[in-house]
């Protein structure tokens, strides 16, 4: 009887968390649709990067157009994750809604998860936009070598990036200068994760850094599935790395969020911007 009761309570908790996450997702989606900078990050910048890369990389073999679609789409995913997903907590602080959120019994981490998920899901528009631009408007033939593996890779990528976003959002609070340095963090990930050129071109000492970043494994899986350059086993290994990193991000973020909330309550800085 006691076990059944506990099980039911847990199910209720899961349902409540999912509801909170979905509502946060919906609100973030609606807010983003009115933000010009989000539209820039999701559509305009990736399309301009795609156009540029298309011209720069022409002559790189028959698959280069799909390589550009995936790579420029990844730039959109990262830019949106960094600027919008990263600002998920600080954004609430700016609008004065962080205090009620923290005071509510809902898990802050679930709220942030929903918000970051909305950002990452919207930024998939980057890849769709690049695909449409390059295939429909510019007339390049685009084929996905392994569509099923590509679709699953995309789902795993979304999950991995959302988990990465949980950590990023906490950095914006814990490190006051992080938000001011954010412009310097956009292109290093493009570079280190091999979005539009292989990391083998970079000096060897940067490779371990790439291996520690889940967007690198995401880019490798997506490029590999799109162009058919990786075996199923290699793509599965990429998913494995992404899921392993995601799990560690979830665990670490749990601790980080506790630290943030505790510190903000002790210092009375919950709604003080810039602390």
């Amino acid at each position: 009887m006691c076990g059944w009761w506990e099980g039911r309570n847990k199910m209720n908790q899961v349902q409540k968390n999912l509801r909170v996450m979905l509502l946060a997702f919906e609100v973030e989606m609606r807010q983003n649709l009115t933000d010009g900078f989000v539209i820039f990050g999701i559509l305009i910048q990736p399309l301009l990067v795609a156009l540029m890369a298309l011209w720069m990389l022409k002559g790189k073999g028959p698959d280069y157009a799909i390589f550009v679609v995936v790579g420029s789409g990844m730039t959109g995913l990262w830019t949106t994750l960094l600027f919008n997903g990263g600002n998920s907590i600080t954004g609430e602080r700016w609008t004065g809604t962080l205090e009620p959120l923290v005071a509510s019994p809902a898990s802050l981490r679930m709220i942030i998860f929903g918000k970051v998920l909305a950002n990452v899901a919207q930024s998939l528009g980057s890849m769709i936009g690049s695909y449409l631009l390059i295939s429909t408007i510019l007339g390049y033939p685009l084929t996905l070598a392994r569509p099923a593996l590509f679709a699953v890779s995309l789902l795993v990528t979304v999950f991995a990036l959302v988990c990465f976003g949980l950590i990023l959002a906490s950095f914006f609070i814990l490190i006051p200068d992080f938000a001011r340095m954010v412009n310097t963090l956009e292109f290093p990930i493009y570079i280190l994760c091999g979005f539009l050129f292989p990391i083998a071109l970079l000096p060897g000492w940067t490779t371990p850094i790439s291996y520690l970043l889940s967007p690198y494994w995401a880019a490798q899986a997506l490029h590999g599935a799109a162009q058919g350059t990786l075996t199923t086993g290699q793509i599965l290994a990429d998913w494995g790395w992404m899921l392993a990193f995601s799990l560690s991000y979830i665990l670490i973020s749990g601790k980080l969020y506790q630290v943030i909330l505790r510190k903000a309550r002790v210092d009375a800085t919950l709604d003080i911007v810039g602390n």
Binding site: Q45, L48, W55, M56, D177, P188, L196
Partner: protein, 267 residues
């Protein structure tokens, strides 16, 4: 007459200094340096490596020079726009439009520090190019290169002044700025030779600031003379002057409109 000149000169330089200070003073020195030195480096590395992937590492100097000159546009567009548009965001625009100061000195002064800043950015870019990508400046005429950088930074600041005016009437200034900046990355020849672009894009490229500046810098670094680049440099200067005059004209129009409609600081 002399008193008026001296007063306008003071307004020009004080406005230039304080608007620049207001834009960056809130950053700590490390963050400021990161945004000035590291961020441009990462953009340069990204495009140099795409270039190297596309056509081999022998072509690195093409991308290094192009992306170094882009730093002029970065200061010119973002810095100048934020200096002009920032007045609206910080609520100081009514005071600015309410004071009797000379509008030309006040408006063009907003670009002055960013021209110096942009030139410094180009030097930093070229410095990174020498350090990391073995950019060879031994054939370059230093004076001609300096003049090219000055004129290019001026012309892109002209575009910044024009964009700054737009920021007085739109909320989505970052969208407009970033779009123009990325468009310059494509059209200016910094990363793709202009002659390889489709004809309609070449027409746009030739009407923009920076395109001629990038071409001049490449010619000078390859050992070309000042006489060789002078016609292009004059055109680049002319584009800068036209954009500045256009920006000033718009500034005056928006001032009159905003005063008439009472929309000075309404978003």
């Amino acid at each position: 007459m002399m008193e008026r000149i001296s007063r306008n000169t003071r307004i020009f330089f004080e406005g230039a200094f304080y608007s620049y200070k207001a834009l960056f003073r809130w950053l700590n020195p490390a963050t400021y340096l990161a945004s000035k030195v590291l961020a441009p480096l990462t953009i340069m590395i990204f495009f140099v490596f795409i270039g190297a992937y596309a056509s081999g590492s022998n072509n690195a100097s093409f991308y290094v020079i192009g992306n170094s000159l882009i730093f002029a546009a970065s200061s010119g567009i973002f810095g100048v726009t934020m200096s002009v548009g920032g007045e609206r965001w910080t609520g100081t625009l009514p005071y600015l439009f309410g004071c009797p100061a000379n509008r030309g000195a006040m408006f063009i002064g907003r670009a002055f520090m960013h021209i110096l800043d942009g030139m410094l950015g180009v030097f930093i870019g070229l410095g990174w190019g020498i350090l990391l990508f073995k950019l060879d400046l031994s054939q370059a005429n230093p004076l001609a290169l300096l003049l090219t950088i000055l004129v290019t930074t001026f012309s892109t600041s002209g575009l910044g002044l024009l964009m700054g005016c737009l920021s007085l009437i739109t909320r989505n200034v970052m969208l407009v700025n970033n779009t123009v900046y990325f468009a310059l990355l494509i059209f200016s020849g910094a990363n793709i030779p202009v002659e390889e672009l489709p004809a309609w894009m070449q027409v746009i490229a030739n009407g923009l600031p920076l395109t001629r500046g990038v071409a001049c810098a490449r010619t000078i670094i390859a050992g070309g003379s000042l006489t060789e680049i002078m016609p292009l440099l004059k055109e680049e200067l002319l584009i800068g002057i036209i954009l500045t005059i256009l920006g000033y004209f718009l500034f005056k129009v928006f001032e009159i409109q905003a005063k008439k409609l009472g929309t000075l600081d309404i978003f």
